[in-house]
């Protein structure tokens, strides 16, 4: 008896070049706004009639409402069945590009790292999601302990003495810091005199914005020829009117300012305080701290560096870390431990008050806590080292592409991100940076417009974080290389991109015109006529 010889498997029929260009197509539909899907009379939930005993006990609840709180007409909410709501959001989700779907290194400054799903599951647990902020503290000792311990860890990471987790976002954290800085100056009778805040062009723009909201005059330092904030400019800007220096380091160019201590000293000598924007600390974890740089306050975005995650994947959360001199001004309540139990301290007469309702975004706190605990101190440092390594690998690869460059600080390594320029390519081919970003969408990725203040011509800001493998980065580079090549050989393909997206081009003329902004459906309907 003969057995058939096993068939030789041989080589696969087609070997994809490594890495291959991903063929990608977004959903073809353009899902309407949910208000446009309304169908009169449809309902998602039909609450049962209350039982007679309940009605009797509660009485007419509407009668007890003050007249000013009662609507005269029912709200114009979409009327839909459950399954239609579900389909609507499923369809929307398929029009997305995002970190769970693609290689998302193109949202430089945003730290689009992978956020482990297990941490989401923790935050979604009923043990947390069903807590109420008005519960007696004796019944929420667990989450208070998590918050307290997270604060302790952030103290160690920043080198500072006290922490508040209350701010609901990075900008809210900057606002909290500037509010504490103002309270500090007021406590010394200098509140009126010190009405200027200094920041730099490449610092996170929320620094200027938050300080402006707090009523300060903003003085911006431009970059010097090497891209560092101009120290000579700082010398002329600092005076007895200086309330604070609000600065990012590394700035959004990815360049670390090695003279940062001199900046801080100069401001301190004039009686000003210094606030370190560490919204993105991904290249610094375990390597350098705000305290060693001499700062008085700093803040972290838990949704960037601490993986809670960023963007539409979850709400934001900010943490302010301060030196002990600033501690009396922390927002209330603070979380304290008396040796046996945790409690909330509202009795802080010098406090700036509340920055947001309640105690902060607790789900994010739990996720950040879990993320830090899963890594440990060595793990945090490794995150920073890999983020920097990934970034400099990407930098070297991008610089091999015809038409790309990395302005400023020639020959210096970058920290966690780089602001590149396609100026050479634009001059050669007429293809603009944003068109390259669009074309990338045809291959399942993209980059966007986080290039404030748009000084670098034809900018592209990439931040690979620690989450992407070398294969991921190579795939991203292959896409950029391919598009750059198209720009030189068939620019029309890039000009008309994206070809595989739901919406190909949008008219953004109205983006910075408040008269055109519609934040409600009613406003949208009212204003639409003018813009069509």
């Amino acid at each position: 008896m003969t057995h058939p010889k096993p068939k030789k498997l041989g080589a696969p029929k087609a070997v994809a070049p490594k890495p291959a260009l991903r063929r990608f197509h977004q959903a073809r539909w353009d899902e309407p706004v949910i208000f446009e899907l309304t169908s009169e009379g449809q309902r998602g939930v039909l609450p049962p009639e209350p039982e007679a005993a309940v009605v009797q006990a509660a009485g007419d609840v509407f009668d007890n409402l003050p007249a000013s709180l009662k609507r005269k007409t029912a709200p114009a909410l979409p009327e839909m069945s459950q399954v239609h709501v579900l389909r609507h959001y499923m369809r929307l989700s398929q029009e997305n590009l995002g970190v769970d779907l693609n290689i998302d290194v193109g949202q430089g400054t945003c730290t689009m790292k992978y956020s482990p799903k297990v941490n989401d599951q923790l935050a979604r647990s009923h043990k947390l999601s069903e807590l109420h902020p008005l519960q007696p503290v004796s019944t929420v000792q667990g989450i208070l302990e998590v918050m307290f311990r997270l604060e302790e860890m952030l103290k160690e990471i920043s080198g500072m003495d006290r922490v508040t987790l209350q701010p609901g976002a990075g900008s809210a954290a900057i606002y909290a810091n500037i509010a504490m800085i103002r309270a500090f100056h007021e406590s010394r009778g200098e509140g009126q005199k010190r009405d200027e805040v200094i920041t730099s062009s490449f610092s996170h723009p929320s620094n200027a914005a938050a300080a402006k909201v707090a009523g300060y005059k903003i003085i911006t330092l431009p970059p010097d020829a090497d891209g560092y904030p101009d120290f000579e400019a700082l010398k002329t800007a600092v005076s007895e009117r200086t309330a604070a220096l609000l600065i990012t380091n590394p700035e959004d160019t990815g360049i670390f300012n090695p003279r940062i201590v001199e900046f801080v000293d100069l401001v301190h000598r004039a009686g000003g305080l210094c606030s370190y924007d560490q919204a993105n600390a991904n290249g610094l974890l375990g390597i350098t701290r705000a305290r060693e740089a001499g700062f008085d306050v700093c803040h972290f975005n838990l949704h960037k560096t601490f993986s809670t995650p960023h963007g539409c994947g979850g709400p934001a959360s900010g943490a302010c870390c301060v030196k002990k001199e600033m501690a009396p001004f922390l927002p209330i309540p603070t979380i304290e431990f008396d040796g046996t139990s945790y409690y909330l301290d509202f009795n802080r007469p010098q406090s700036v008050g509340k920055i947001r309702p309640w105690y902060g975004v607790t789900g994010n706190m739990l996720k950040a806590y879990a993320w830090i605990m899963s890594l440990g101190a060595d793990g945090l440092r490794e995150v920073a080292e890999i983020a920097v390594l990934n970034n400099n690998y990407l930098l070297n690869k991008v610089l091999e592409i015809r038409g790309a460059s990395a302005p400023y600080a020639k020959g210096k390594r970058r920290i966690e991100q780089v602001r590149y320029s396609w100026e050479g390519l634009t001059n050669d081919t007429g293809v603009h940076s944003e068109e390259i970003g669009f074309r990338a969408a045809d291959f399942g990725t993209h980059y966007w417009t986080s290039h404030h203040p748009f000084v670098v011509p034809e900018p592209m800001t990439l931040e690979p974080t620690e989450s992407y493998s070398r294969e991921d980065l190579d795939e991203y580079i292959t896409i950029l290389k391919h598009i750059a090549n198209e720009a030189y050989t068939s620019p029309e393909v890039v000009h008309t991109a994206p070809h595989n997206s739901t919406v190909h081009k949008i008219d953004q003329e109205s983006f910075d015109d408040p008269d055109a902004w519609a934040v409600t459906w009613r406003a949208y309907k009212r204003k639409l006529k003018k813009y069509r």
Partner: protein, 370 residues
Amino acid sequence: MNRIGLIVNPLAGIGGRVGLKGSDGVETQRRALELGAIPESLHRATLSLIPLLGLSGTLEVVTFPREMGETSAREAGFTPKVIGEIHSGLTTAEDTRRAVNKMSALGVDLIFFAGGDGTARDVCSAIPAQFPCLGIPAGVKIHSAVYATNPKHAGELAGMYLQGKARLREAEVLDVDEDAYRAGRVSTRLYGTLHVPYRPLLLQNQKAPSRASEARQAEAIAADVLEQMQAGVAYILGPGTTTRAIAQALTVEKTLVGVDVVRDGQLIAKDVTQEQLLNLTETMPARIIVTPIGGQGFLFGRGNQQIGPEVIRKVGRENIIVVSTSDKLRALRLQPLIVDTGVAEVDALLAGYFNVVTGYKERMVYKVVY
């Protein structure tokens, strides 16, 4: 039926390829032709009309004879309505101005002109206020923001405007002094503004700030400056759209390309000379409000020579208020502003850092060099 008024400056750009750095003046044009220059503006106008062919059923091209538009329109496939008369081979700036007059009187929807900065100046000097127009880049010098990035884009933009898909914005007409330019000095002047269609590139192309953001930045600057103004002090307002916004906030009419003086909210001198400014500063305390002009970032010494070194010395450095939209500073890539007043000692006085007003309660510490 839409109507477009096509004007081609047949001599635009002929100085470029033969290294003459411009084409202004009969002598330069003669030399350029001697050197073998071939006029390219006709062809560029043709290229710009091709994207409009799709509209040909609903679009009438009104133009001047032969090389001033007719040739290009026919080349592109249009049958234009030809008006006016020219002496072929001998056209001048005057012909451009005549064409602008006739076409605007006819009420065309858009004047579409091919040329360079000189042509834009000619259009600017003849066109009625706020009349829509758009430049097809064909000249050697293109400093003015009234030109599309290339002829094809010009045609596409014109088409979008005619179909109501692009709106108008005010754009500056700048020109350099060609004699100085040939001698190696760049000297830009603001000659006025034109109303051109625009459509910002998708997503944020910050080189083309929107109408709204530009106007709002200037308004915010004006609000800041008004708060600083003191009674009894004369404010010398340099040329430019940013300083004009300050005048507008005071409800005073400003000479766009000249220097005016306001005091206590009133205009006290219009379009002044250096001599007048010197006399004025003798009699009252004065401050200077200036904005950098053009793409080179000159703060003093180009386009605002009325505010000469003597005036600056008398007013004093501490009484100079520099204003600029952040868009303008961004366009300079945050590189220093330049002064060239003609007196080295005054230039040295001005060098260093100024707190440039970039918005309401917003300053940028900005370097000035000479």
